[in-house]
Symmetry: C2
DNA sequence: CTGTATCCTCTAAGATACTG
DNA sequence: CAGTATCTTAGAGGATACAG
């Protein structure tokens, strides 16, 4: 059995892609770039909150997305879920120590963004204007 | 004209979502979480590289994705593109100062990931095992 | 109140083929 | 060598209805 150059390239790409999935930094990026993750974590920074309170504070998130975000945070060991079996039910969410430590990284991102996204904004404007006039 | 509670909620969500798009931190996350952005930037950390060299170093990226990643980095003012009109054509890519500064944030992410993704990995395993046995 | 189950849409990412 | 143009697909995100 022999392979064409094309097949070899495909194989290399597939292998590289698999390796990427295992890269810790890649996984972290995928975890925190999901739309509501950082917002939820920021809200929980000052202490535990009920599900309904989170919903009130992050009105953009649908109920489904909020729950699924919280589930993935819980699964990743970044948030703990406390269920109180009263009627009606009550659930509180709280950051774990690991979650708090991740919050540090998120603040780093936020800081850079606040300081530099203006420049990025400008660059985008310039780039777009150049294409517009040039075609 | 009056509105139902449902319509009001919808409006609030839409408005909140629009605000989110404008949030610098959100934009930053969207910019760097695109699949090949960080890899390209890391490769360019030590100096300029040709298109073909980048392609060789990041075999997982298709030609299309590499070009489109480089375009968006250029648009954001993070990378400069130097075109040399020889035959065949030659293009070199290099980080801008802004790009280098962003690299610092990326290293922060990477560091946290290297130190802590093991714990996340463990938490995931525990969570999944618990569901498996409990159902 | 909290959470699940469906269905739907939109787009990032990829495969492929072509041009200067 | 570098880049563009199409077509396809998988999955994130969302709307809605229902359940414990």
């Amino acid at each position: 059995m022999t392979f064409t150059a094309h097949q070899k390239r495909q194989a290399a790409q597939a292998q590289y892609a698999d390796g990427l999935e295992l890269c810790p930094a890649r996984q972290l990026l995928e975890a925190i770039s999901s739309k509501w993750v950082t917002l939820v974590m920021l809200e929980l920074a000052d202490g535990e909150l009920r599900h309904s309170e989170l919903r009130r504070r992050i009105p953009g998130a649908s109920q489904k997305m909020l729950t699924s975000t919280l589930r993935s945070l819980e699964r990743d060991g970044l948030v703990t879920r406390l269920l109180t079996l009263s009627v009606p039910v009550r659930t509180d969410y709280e950051l774990t120590p690991l979650g708090h430590s991740l919050l540090g990284v998120i603040h780093g991102l936020k800081e850079w963004a606040d300081e530099n996204m203006g420049q990025v904004e400008e660059a985008r404007g310039g780039y777009d204007r150049a294409r517009e006039s040039a075609g």
